[in-house]
């Protein structure tokens, strides 16, 4: 099927899962409601019908169990793709991801390994109930042995998810919930993988580097276009792979433009933006024409949805932050 039908990010995830399960009999999908129901967002729709209950497994409602069982399966050479229904529910699974999945290869000197993928919807902006809007990618980017990937377009979701499933090590694959059904784009189901340690240049420019990942990319794209209309040339990079970070590409862009704004949906303190900014300062401080700026959520919990728009940054916020950065001598 090499046509270029339009797919949403959610459909791209589904398409990649179908392909991965078709291509490799060791791939299996497990989680809460992923089988008969096809997932609460329908990311796993059709898999049960296509591949059967043995490979598409509806689990008891227990996130610790899910992660622990996936570790055991992966150690046996299966490739479990496990779904945590919302990122706010992943904390119960963290001990297995941090103390076991990320370390099994190292502690056995490569005798055992853990090729698993954890998929989870991430982020705010869908007027969801409490604990359904978290963006806690930084908690995982801190852990040696893990990879953390956040797609922000259907094509990147497709290519990065296939690469994550192929990868011999554990990968956290965080899907921006807000983008799930937004802007379907042409995509061919050609099985092409994207690299797991590269950022993506979405727009080339010369005045300022705009770095972001996840759902914020949507606003960053709009802000870049608005600024272009005002004669400002923005270079927009989707960081996408948060662990490990493609610092070489980020550095090259910032060296070129001399100015950098990092847009991060998550709360500011100790977020990925801090790591990126610190690394950029180490690498290209003398090329900077202005201090690197972060536009992040304040250090407050994601609110219930009535005030959600005030928690998140708007296109206008990003444009204003860019303007401020450009105004500095």
């Amino acid at each position: 099927m090499n046509d270029t039908t339009r797919y949403s990010l959610l459909e791209a995830v589904n398409l990649a899962l179908h392909r991965a399960m078709r291509d490799d009999p060791e791939v299996l999908v497990l989680g809460e409601d992923v089988g008969v129901n096809g997932g609460v967002f329908r990311a796993t729709a059709g898999l049960r019908e296509a591949f059967g209950a043995r490979r598409v497994i509806d689990s008891p409602l227990a996130e610790t169990m899910l992660a622990g069982v996936a570790v055991g399966m992966a150690a046996q050479g299966l490739r479990p793709v496990l779904e945590i229904q919302f990122l706010g529910f992943i904390y119960a699974a963290m001990e297995h991801l941090i103390s076991h999945a990320s370390r099994l290869r190292n502690r056995t000197r490569g005798r055992l390994s853990c090729p698993l993928v954890v998929r989870s919807p991430m982020g705010a902006g869908i007027r969801a109930p409490e604990h359904h809007s978290e963006a806690v990618e930084a908690l995982f980017a801190h852990i040696p042995g893990l990879r953390v990937v956040v797609p922000s377009s259907p094509a990147r979701a497709y290519g990065l998810l296939l690469a994550a499933i192929d990868d011999p090590d554990p990968v956290l694959f965080l899907e921006p919930t807000r983008l799930y059904r937004m802007n379907p784009q042409p995509l061919s189901d050609d099985g092409r993988r994207l690299p797991l340690d590269s950022c993506f240049t979405l727009r080339e420019g010369s005045d300022l580097t705009l770095l972001s990942w996840g759902a914020s990319i949507h606003e960053c794209l709009q802000a870049s276009r608005q600024l272009a209309e005002q004669g400002v040339s923005v270079e927009l990079l989707d960081v996408a792979c948060l662990k490990p970070l493609d610092m070489a590409s980020l550095e090259a862009s910032v060296r070129k433009t001399g100015r950098c704004l990092i847009v991060q949906e998550a709360p500011q303190s100790a977020g990925l933006g801090a790591e990126i900014a610190a690394s950029l300062y180490e690498r290209c401080f003398l090329d900077l024409q202005a201090p690197i700026q972060r536009l992040a959520a304040a250090d407050i919990p994601p609110p219930l949805y009535r005030l959600e728009p005030l928690y998140m940054h708007s296109v206008a916020d990003i444009v204003a932050a860019c303007r401020q950065l450009l105004a500095q001598p």
């Binding site: 055991g72 150690a75 046996q76 056995t108 005798r111």
Partner: protein, 366 residues
């Protein structure tokens, strides 16, 4: 209506002095097999003593002695098939030795070297290394058992833990999923009465730990963990049940931790020496030794010959352990990812540079 604790069976065939309590199971007739088990228990105990001595003299780090629990591990290890997978906790020297983990590997692990979990013997290629975060291994065993089921293999995942682990969510979630999916897994609880300083009665109000299985819809039973005949019956049944696709089960083995929690612990701070003396009366080696002696199948000459043989094997293993040189500095990076990511190359380069600047004689500060 008053609350009544659920009942689970308790199996015991031998008194503490080795005298039969009544009719014995078929395995009691196989004297040669029992002698093999006894020799292995003796080897385990002597190796355990050696490991403690090596820690006391600074040649290995912290070690978790298996003293008093030799029967559980030895019977379990002898009943498992080579193709089964062991997902152990950290007090499993007895099972690990029988599975094919080498003594020098056990010493390497506790001696601070990851190569101790690399296991050279192909028979243990799929076994997990000892698990330190309590009870988490129970879920890994369920994952391994799921893989067996998905692939249609007649293999069993066996996981062990202590009494303290049964208080953790991981353990209960493991029982639950094992029941829901009818997995070929056996949960072996080494109830040695102590979780570091917390005694069994403060751990849980359940009359038995085995009854926790009942809430998950799977069978649970108690067995005298110092009675080789009883262990052989109960663990054999549980393994067979799993292997035949009849589902998981939990066996709570009643024993006593005769040693400290680890070599870093001093149990005299929190438990009464009279209780420990009493527990020594019920310990597993002497019980089987007396049982065999009463049948004319073991005597002092056998004992001395066996001790000498075990000591020679242990000393040879310690010599092999001593001959293993330090791992290469670069090995710090070799197994974190299948391949060290290019994006992290600079971190490794910076580390190399720091190491190169350290004074000659190695990367470690004097």
């Amino acid at each position: 209506m008053p609350f009544v604790q659920p009942q689970v069976p308790l199996t015991r065939y031998l008194q503490a002095d080795g005298q039969p309590l009544g009719e014995l199971p078929a395995c009691a007739e196989n004297t040669e097999q029992l002698r093999v088990l006894y020799r292995q228990m003796l080897l385990t105990r002597l190796f355990d003593q050696k490991a403690v001595a090596l820690q006391r003299t600074g040649r290995i780090g912290t070690y978790a002695p298996t003293l008093g629990q030799e029967a559980i591990g030895v019977v379990l290890g002898s009943l498992m098939h080579a193709e089964d997978v062991l997902v152990p906790y950290y007090r499993d020297t007895a099972v690990q030795l029988l599975r094919g983990v080498r003594m020098e590997e056990i010493l390497l692990y506790w001696g601070g070297d990851e190569r101790g979990s690399a296991y050279a013997d192909p028979a243990v290629a799929e076994d997990f290394p000892p698990c330190v975060p309590i009870a988490t291994q129970a879920l890994h065993a369920c994952g391994v058992a799921s893989a067996f089921r998905i692939r249609g293999q007649a293999r069993v995942a066996v996981t062990t833990c202590g009494d303290g682990a049964t208080s953790k969510g991981d353990f209960l979630e493991a029982l639950n999923v094992a029941g829901a999916w009818q997995l070929p897994v056996v949960f072996v609880v080494n109830n040695n009465q102590w979780a570091i300083s917390v005694p069994r009665h403060l751990q849980c109000a359940a009359a038995t730990l085995a009854q926790k299985a009942l809430g998950a819809g799977i069978p649970g039973e108690q067995v005298d963990g110092n009675d080789v005949l009883a262990l052989h019956e109960c663990l054999g049944r549980a393994l067979q049940r799993a292997r035949q696709g009849k589902g998981p089960s939990l066996v709570e083995c009643l024993s006593y931790r005769l040693g400290d929690h680890t070599t870093a612990d001093d149990a005299s701070r929190y438990r009464d020496s009279a209780q420990v003396r009493q527990a020594w009366e019920a310990e597993p080696l002497r019980r089987l030794q007396r049982f065999l002696a009463a049948r004319g199948a073991w005597d002092e000459a056998h004992e001395q010959a066996c001790v000498a043989d075990c000591q020679a094997r242990i000393e040879a293993a310690v010599a092999r352990f001593d001959a293993i040189t330090a791992p290469s500095p670069e090995s710090l990076f070799e197994h974190v990812y299948a391949r060290w990511p290019a994006a992290l190359a600079e971190q490794r380069d910076a580390w190399r540079e720091r190491m190169a600047q350290r004074p000659a004689g190695g990367p470690v500060d004097e």
